[in-house]
């Protein structure tokens, strides 16, 4: 602690990056016949795009010698290891923690995820937690804020620029009307927005090296977190389809239809 006070962040900071395995963003999802979820078997999965941005940010901070260790964490069934190895460790994380669930179909709500991440953060002792701003499957946009609350740490959500400035971070965040700049003290939780960076592709040698990096497996049961869902899924359905439209032949016809048929111009 003495060292940290007088020689702030330089090379003593640890970043924890949370990554989630989700259905790939290019896949058109299909609702299951029992209407209680979407079809996940034999569907391409990958790392949540926002989490790759968080990972990239951590790696850039390490390259800038602002961070000296990156720990990646993922919560999920056995296949989450693919995301930890293939994305997080291959992109530059030093080690990984896999919080193992019984199987890949188990879904954990943000509240339970935040509690699990808190338990992991207490073990890893990070100075900064980086996450994506939301997962593209449940679109909740809640986990990083909940983790920050449970740890009683400050948060900066929807970050589009992050600078380390001594013992603080200057974060530019995207709001509904433009940008907001905040100064946030360590330790803190940051959620990353799309424009923060462009994640790198892991090169083959890194992918090979990633296979040898340390990966610790924790059983969720040992963390003492109850993952029973608080919300009961009553029904999952396709959104109502729009009535078929028509093609028009000219801009005059388009304007006429909008004015006289749809009456919206």
């Amino acid at each position: 602690i003495f060292f940290r006070v007088f020689f702030p962040p330089f090379c003593t900071m640890r970043a924890l990056v949370a990554v989630k395995r989700v259905i790939d963003y290019t896949v058109k999802v299909r609702v299951r016949p029992d209407k209680l979820g979407v079809v996940k078997d034999n569907v391409k999965h990958s790392c949540n795009p926002f989490d790759e941005i968080a990972m990239e940010q951590a790696v850039r901070m390490k390259e800038a010698k602002l961070v000296n260790e990156i720990v990646a964490v993922s919560i999920g069934g056995p296949k989450s290891v693919e995301v930890l190895r293939g994305s997080a460790l291959a992109m530059g994380a030093d080690k990984a923690v896999h919080v193992k669930l019984a199987d890949d179909s188990v879904e954990v709500e943000p509240l339970a995820v935040a509690k699990i991440l808190k338990a992991v953060a207490e073990k890893v002792q990070p100075d900064v937690v980086l996450t994506g701003k939301q997962a593209i499957d449940d679109d909740s946009c809640a986990t990083p804020q909940m983790l920050a609350a449970l740890l009683n740490w400050p948060q900066a959500t929807f970050a589009s620029a992050i600078e380390v400035d001594g013992k603080k971070m200057n974060v530019t965040r995207e709001t509904d009307v433009g940008m907001q700049k905040l100064s946030v003290s360590f330790p803190c939780v940051l959620s990353c927005d799309l424009r923060l960076n462009e994640p790198r592709y892991a090169k083959l040698p890194e992918i090979m090296k990633a296979k040898k990096k340390p990966l610790e497996t924790l059983d969720v049961k040992d963390l003492g977190v109850d993952i029973t869902p608080r919300l009961k899924i009553i029904d999952v359905s396709d959104p109502p389809a729009r009535a078929a439209g028509i093609k028009v032949g000219s801009i005059e016809e388009l304007v006429d239809k909008l004015k006289n048929e749809a009456k919206v111009l």
């Binding site: 609702v31 948060q155 959500t157 009961k232 032949g249």
Partner: protein
């Protein structure tokens, strides 16, 4: 007062009001409409110099009480400080529902409050079935989930503003002053960069002209702004691709990761209609599109589609509207 189906009116809802110290945000007016299905509404107006907003909130139909907390720590509504205040109020009043709009503010605060209360929040609600049951989109709007909150004693939700009408005037609530509960520290506001061009707000515009990669350059977006100027209450939106290319600022982005709009008319110009973009605009009442590619997915959601070059269409469109 007793009426059939009024069971939910036994509830007590808290609505977090978002504002700019001058007026209640349109999104918060939608949050009030959503919350009116749960019972009596208390509106929380926190801020520094927020008295005009509290005054306005007291006149909104459906609002039964306004708690005004005017104190320096609520300047810029930092979620760390606001969530502590909400926790304190909830501790004293035990609300059945705590509601905010699913905006950058609501998304930042509600999950924080929920975590401390050991409650699973329900984000981006588009329909309230009953006081415990809500519909929300998942997978970029490609699957609608109906969820029932059975265990948590308080339901904390953010609602999608375009899915609920804005509450009107007609209330006469008393304004009481609440006590501030101190700085949490850790986060300091530095500055805001706001686009105050005076153009209609994208989320509440009646007509939106959306531009995509077909516009080819940032300069060409001027054609869309010129068109928008000719149509009353019309705003310009954009796809992620053109925002990333630096053609227009990010607050114009419509989609899963940007804004969700549901105007009366959405005119899609030179955008293909990727899943991510459709998530932000497919609830528009009427969709029209102009695109050179007849196979572009945007045609499958458009009421009126014109296969053609937008650079031919735009000047004609401008002269005809």
């Amino acid at each position: 007062m007793a009426m059939k189906g009024a069971r939910s009116l036994l509830g007590k809802a808290l609505v977090l009001i978002e504002h700019n110290n001058a007026k209640v945000s349109p999104a918060s007016l939608s949050a009030i409409t959503a919350a009116s299905k749960f019972g009596d509404i208390t509106a929380l107006v926190a801020g520094k110099g927020c008295a005009p907003v509290a005054e306005q909130a007291s006149k909104i139909a459906g609002v039964k009480a306004v708690v005004q907390v005017d104190s320096a720590e609520y300047d810029h509504l930092l979620p760390e400080n606001v969530s502590k205040l909400v926790e304190k109020l909830h501790g004293a009043e035990k609300f059945s529902h705590i509601v905010a709009a699913h905006t950058a503010f609501g998304k930042s605060v509600i999950p924080r409050v929920a975590a401390v209360s050991d409650c699973q929040p329900i984000p981006d609600v588009i329909n309230v079935v009953d006081e415990n049951t809500f519909v929300r989109p998942t997978y970029a709007g490609n699957a609608l989930a109906t969820v029932k909150s059975e265990i948590d004693p308080v339901k904390m939700l953010t609602i999608r503003p375009t899915s609920f009408d804005k509450a009107g005037d007609g209330g006469s609530a008393a304004v009481t002053n609440g006590e501030a509960c101190g700085e949490t520290g850790g986060t300091k506001w530095v500055s805001d960069e706001v686009d105050d061009s005076g153009k209609p707000d994208l989320s509440s515009a009646r007509v939106v002209v959306g531009g995509g990669r077909g516009l080819k350059s940032g300069e060409n977006f001027k054609l869309l702004f010129d068109l928008a100027d000719k149509i009353p209450n019309c705003a310009v939106g954009a796809t992620r691709a053109v925002v990333d290319a630096g053609f227009v600022p990010n607050e114009l982005q419509v989609g899963q990761t940007g804004k969700v709009v549901a105007p009366d008319l959405y005119i899609a110009m030179g955008l293909s209609g990727a899943i991510q973009h459709l998530a932000g605009m497919k609830d528009s009442k009427v969709i029209a599109c102009v695109n050179t590619d007849p196979d572009a997915p945007i045609f499958s959601v458009s009421d009126y589609g014109l296969e053609g070059d937008l650079f031919d269409a735009l000047p004609k469109l401008k002269s005809l509207v």
